[in-house]
Amino acid sequence: MRKLFVGLMAFIAMNTMAATQINGAGATFPYPLYSKWFSEYSKENKDIQINYQAIGSGGGIRQLIQETVDFGASDAPMSDNDKSKATRQILQIPTVLGAVAISYNVSEVTANIKLDGDTLAKIFLGEISKWNDPKIAALNEGLKLPAKDILVVRRADGSGTTSIFADYLSTVSKDWETQVGRGKTLKWPTGIGAKGNDGVTGAISQNDGAIGYIELAYAINNNLKVAALKNKAGEYKLPTVQGVSLAAAKVKSISEVTNSIVDADGKGVYPISSFTYILLPVKEKDAKIVEVKKFLKWALSKGQNFAAPLHYAPLPKRLALEMLKEIK
């Protein structure tokens, strides 16, 4: 009995001593990629173990401020209010880019429909309520649209995805900006709320006539139809990894990475794109922070190759190099 006990203690002690444990918490959006990164990184660096809790961006920021985790992760840059609550300066490093796809389910329509920002805002404001509305028809000449009711499906839980989508609509539509605005949780004028990306995906695929916004990966993995959106250059672009990376092409320095990149300038850009960040407290000579920095360097170089297969867009090369300099 005693031998067993001592053996157990020794085993536990050995395990905890062998690996440096790093704890992070935050966004759910990049979680599939992050968990892939952490496991790949641990394979290369056996003495590092990174635990990540996907509790949501807001929770991640709260835990970071209370310093119960070593790093945080968020889809939206930290607000000034949150920054002022933190006792240390916080470095916000973009890791990859993601896109929000506009998915729909209209049994009569087999081609990808085209939408522009203004029409999209009117649909989500409830001002356009039929699929054969003249505004939609004008953008889709030659497409037979049914006289079906539009069912707007949106997130019920507070979400970074909502925040990116609302940011886009506020950028392209004055009406949206004044009536609804930006945020992770909104006061929606119409539609039903579903929980999580999977909830919205389920509601769209079950309801003929539904439209909603989800992360690109969910649209692709569930074979949902996605709308081509008009970008600033006037092209209609389907959400693709390349189109999303291009949205960040103009961002060059760390001071610019927290700026919004929705409806970005340039050819080939998909307009509802966004960075996702890892938040790192600036501490001098902290062993764990040093390890997180090492990991970030790996993520921004070798790790970028894991992004595209999981439908995340890698950072533009120049920006990744710039970030590597910044982390040091």
Binding site: G160, K187, W188, Q206
Partner: protein
Amino acid sequence: MELDIINDSQKSTAKSESLIRTPSLPLISYKGQDKLALFFLRFCALSIFAILVLMIGLLFKMAMPAISMFGLDFITSSDWNPVEDQFGGLAFIYGTVTTSFLALIIATPLSIAMAIFISQILKGALSKVVSMIVELIAAVPSIVFGLWGLFYLAPWVKSTLTPFLKNTLGFLPQFQGPSFGIGILSASIILAIMITPTITSIVREIFNSVPQIRKEAALGLGATKYEMIRIAVLRPSLSGILGAVVLGLGRALGETMAVAMIIGNNPTISKSLFSPGATMASVIANEYAEAEGDLHLSALCYIALILFAITFIVNLAARTIIWHNNRRSQK
């Protein structure tokens, strides 16, 4: 720690051996043991109470900014706008109360009929098996109910139940308007299924506690089986049934996951039962993790406090009714 236990067990075996040989006093006197046990049990009992008080205190503290900002207007306003930092909980209170009462309307007759069937009609082993199956429903996790509701019940409500209700009861405003399957009606049905086992098992116990002699007396006076059930079983159990129903209500009020998945989460007050709604528990589950502003968090805590108060009162009422009933039946 482990070592201590080993030593203790060695000691106690040694002690018991010595007890057999020479009866000597134990390490702690018997009175002391009693005192120690009493202290320990009292500590356990009081810790539950302390946790409750601490929880209410913490909720109050966290809800304070919203309470001081909105006061009682919070309960009468249905404007919930996190972007503008404007919060009112009426739509959520309405959603919780409507879904819970609708669930009760569906579940109560079903549960009573089921309890009569199990306790009065079925005999012996079969009765036990059926009641066990009913109770097993209570063990199904609520997320499973939610998924089932989302993928099976909601499409069924949309394609079958809604057209039927519109055709038969369509003149009422409650049964008008578009239906997407997801909404207050579907949430109520899910809740009804979830609380039926709770109500059934309590009502069954109450029926079983009716003395056999009364039932025989009723039959002896020439009552049919239906009359016997009505006079000898149902009538004396009425207050107990009420208690069971209120206990079911308590569960319906607090149910979160299944409802959040199927109610549509739209904080509006609409006459139509087909329209989406939102409940107090579902909004907390949905918005807490990503609540941005301090006021948003605080408003969610305010809702939690209201929910806590409502369920507390409802449960208290149920216990009082059942307790009253038990005391009377013992007389």
